[in-house]
Symmetry: C2
Subunit: 553 residues, 2 copies
């Protein structure tokens, strides 16, 4: 005769380790079949229902603590429930050594602590992180269920003071060889990592270690850092830190796909950082495999492999002599649709606005304004007319128009040789290219052809170059050309700094995180943290007002 009992404790705060231990203790009592100790979120309730608990008549709210017992008899069920308070008391037994109750107290005990690790429940986390910033410490914010508004406010405040906020929902970091949160023990080395999420960083660092490489520093940014609301603040800070770090030779950047404007800022920062950067935006269409100093990886294991390979054989320096940054618009006049599309795709993250007449983008907009990539072989142009690979008339007209536009800096052309194509495209294009370069435009030609093609590849190349065009052989090389000339991004943020050597941190929340810092040779003081006002929301609000310590706007 199965019997079930439940208790609801509204809005009560318990450490989640304590709750796990309570559930295990209850489940281990004689006659008890199963026990559940959870916050009554819909996901947790759905799961308990699937585990044969009947929650139909239980009216618990998501922030209520729900304690359930299913036992073989009424007596066993009642007996188990009667022990709940006693079990909770046991788990709350004070530690033998003295533990500070506040961040202030902990910092007086370990004044060198540069970092504060926060893993208290989400609704308390922003306030703790804010206090850490006020005390001039970097924050490792493990807690989840923190609002985007709080995240943005914390990060803006941190940035203004040369401080880092990793997280919220930052599972992992490795600083000076010591892992925070969940972190694998990996070799120290010359690969610096910035990752949004915890397991992405873990999987990549493990794979780097497996491949014989090592990690200089690994920063977490939190899963939402690259969203438009946050703007990649932490990722950009970490990227700049690694760019300046002499121990870091290669940077690895891992994240879910960023918001478009954040991706642009990030790629620009990465492109101008002076080191090879491997980028793995999971599920993001890569603009190429290697573009300038950027390598776009597909998969965590691939990202790690690329990073390790780059530490062994660095990317050769760009061969291009003239590296004047772009000062005007880029206009691409393509005869090949796929070449145009690949060029558009590669430039799209870094040039904005970038128009095109390509499908799917914004078809049928061939106006010359801002940056634009045109496929002049598109149906709209070729009806009743030869393809631009055979008939250059259309391109020549367009080329002269772009050449006359002082807002244009760079004109991109493809010249495709081979059977069926124009017998001497360079002869037709060269005069217009010369006009353009004399008018102050730069012209870059992607010359597609083989040494066996009927047009005589070297002669074509020479003719185009003599007219003043830079000539490359692939879209990839053309992207390199543009990326190498992106204007540098400016920022006036104070630099982030932290002490080298053994890591010292204050830990607020899950005690095991303090233990693992010590196990790795770092120093950690754990705060015996309790929620303000015993977790009572109303009282907390009053206290916060009294302290006048609110973060955000």
């Amino acid at each position: 005769m199965i019997a079930t009992r439940h208790q609801i404790r509204p809005g009560a705060y318990y450490d989640s380790v304590v709750l796990m231990q309570l559930q295990r203790a209850l489940a281990g009592l004689p006659g008890v079949v199963d026990a559940g100790v959870v916050m009554a979120t819909p996901a947790n309730c759905e799961l308990l229902t699937a585990s044969d608990f009947d929650l139909a008549d239980i009216a618990a709210r998501p922030d209520d603590l729900l304690i359930l017992v299913r036992a073989e008899s009424e007596t066993a069920a009642d007996g188990a429930m009667a022990q709940v308070d006693e079990l909770l008391r046991q788990r709350h037994a004070p530690a033998a050594d003295y533990r500070p109750r506040s961040l202030r107290g902990a910092l007086s005990q370990l004044p060198d602590a540069g970092w504060v690790c926060v893993s208290v429940p989400g609704r308390y986390a922003a306030a703790v992180a804010n206090e850490a910033l006020d005390r001039g410490r970097h924050v490792f914010l493990y807690s989840d269920n923190v609002s985007v508004a709080d995240e943005s406010a914390l990060k803006r405040k941190a940035r203004g003071n040369g401080l880092l906020v990793m997280g919220p929902d930052c599972g992992t970091a490795i600083l000076n060889g010591v892992g925070l949160g969940f972190a694998n023990r990996v070799r120290r080395g010359n690969i610096g990592i910035v990752a949004a999420s915890g397991t992405g960083l873990q999987a990549a660092s493990v794979e780097i270690h497996r491949l014989g490489g090592g990690v200089s520093q690994a920063f977490g940014a939190g899963g939402r850092d690259l969203k438009a609301e946050v703007g990649g603040l932490t990722t950009l800070q970490a990227l700049r830190w690694l760019a300046a770090d002499t121990a870091t030779a290669v940077i690895l950047l891992i994240s879910k796909p960023p918001a478009a404007e954040v991706a642009a800022a990030l790629l620009r920062a990465a492109q101008t950082c002076g080191k090879p950067v491997v980028i793995h935006f999971i599920g993001y269409p890569p603009p190429g495999r290697r573009v300038g100093n950027l390598t776009f990886a597909a998969g965590l294991a691939d990202a790690a492999a690329c990073a390790v390979a780059l530490t062994q054989s660095p990317i050769p320096q760009s061969q291009t002599a003239d590296l004047q940054p772009l000062t005007g618009f880029v206009r691409g006049l393509f005869s090949g649709g796929t070449l145009a599309y690949e060029m558009w795709l590669g430039l799209q993250p870094v040039l904005s606005p970038l128009g095109s007449n390509l499908s799917p983008p914004d078809a049928g907009q061939p106006a010359s304004q801002a940056h634009i990539i045109l496929d002049l072989g598109d149906d709209a142009f070729t009806q009743g007319r030869l393809h631009p690979m055979m008939d250059n008339d259309l391109r020549l007209r367009r080329l002269r128009r772009e050449a006359a536009d002082p807002a244009v800096d760079l004109i991109l052309l493809d010249v495709v040789l081979g059977e069926g194509a124009h017998p001497d495209p360079a002869a037709e294009l060269a005069p217009a290219i010369a006009e353009a370069t004399q008018a102050g435009r730069r012209v870059l030609v992607i010359l597609i052809g083989t040494d066996d093609d009927p047009q005589n590849l070297p002669a074509q190349q020479e003719h185009l170059a003599a007219a003043g065009a830079a000539v490359v052989r692939t879209v990839s090389a053309a992207l390199d050309y543009v990326y190498d000339r992106l204007p540098p991004t400016a920022h006036g943020d104070p630099p982030v700094s932290f002490a080298a050597g053994a890591l010292a941190a204050i830990n607020v929340g899950l005690e095991s995180f303090a233990e693992s810092i010590r196990a790795q040779g770092g120093a950690a003081v754990h705060v015996d943290w309790r929620p303000p006002a015993g977790g009572d929301e109303r009282l907390m609000g009053i206290l916060a007002k009294m302290k006048n310590q609110g973060i955000g706007e």
Copy 2:
């Protein structure tokens, strides 16, 4: 005193080479400043306007031929226009040798011709292609401006008869070493190419040649082949042809991103084709760098480099002993969000429907149905509870539920070791894994950790394996595991075949294409094609009805 003149010739058909020559001849006449000879499409009119022609008072329709002259004087302008008919007559002078006027006539002259190249204007192209199919010939359809409905009908008809239709808007193919349309002269070799678009194929084949590799055959499919309406018919036929071809060691597949359902069919076909396949879906988020026999490239140059590298060092055979194809659903129960996301991304093209609680996909749908990837570390599950890396309770409950579901074949788990994580996850998971495998489920564990991690990696691995789990170390390897077990795709299409040796083709349209086939050592007969009924739409309709030769439904 600048003078302009124009003529409109409604619905007239002229070969586009003739029109180009007319424009050049007019522009070269004494006193003429510029000339335009175009079909009056909006794009062409916009361009002429930009070239200082005033079209404001000219009421030409898109399928009208528009002839424009701008000259230094009234006399010169009138003089030029007076010569239009004479210039057109010169260009229409009959060739010295006899040329058949019909496909039938051409085929009686070159009965071995296996291919018909069609480059007549779009509105006539489907009928010519259809006749070629009726006569049992493969079609290279260069023409653009052909409707999707016609394309689909032509390709369905072709497939039913073991014939290929490359195109419409197929710029390039290389068959038996001879390029059709626009094609570069490249070394013959063991890389087979299927590409949607012309210049993608050209750029990749040029790069293969530059890297020392060579091409067995290169098929074009047309830019719309991978759209849902067409269903990738030609690409699938070409892929199967290359899979069966003994001269082809590596297959390269290039296209803009396919429709989702077409991508699935294509990846399944590629995965089971028995050869390494390099895939470059331009702008498509790659599910990994290498998944099973598939390599996902980023960029045309990268795609070529991958293909050449694979001819030199083939992918090692899968190490997994048990290769039973999947017969039920895949259920992933992840503790790591990024691992879950990467797994979801990798499986998404091949398992359908594939649910998840990941953002951005379909957040908050943790129901167990069909294939599903769950992130149990999501905020919805972790409120007030330890992360599943520390507390396995949630996963154990879910695992037992999946184990009891006979519709499930494969359960995926990640086990993440390291600081902060559970001290012995294998001990907790192993009993439930053993239950699952005894119930007939397969369990695959992605074990993330290093040899320095506190949990003892080899012991964890051994414990999990002893419980019946297959253990891999990366998401990439887990994707391999699944891809290697995808059920083979069945198709009952008759095989496509064509004669080896020198290529023989009939050419209808641009004469230069016939010339270039001959220049490459192939045989070609050019048809002196004229549109039926002189291009008169109404008469054409009547003729078509009389012939009762319509294609389509």
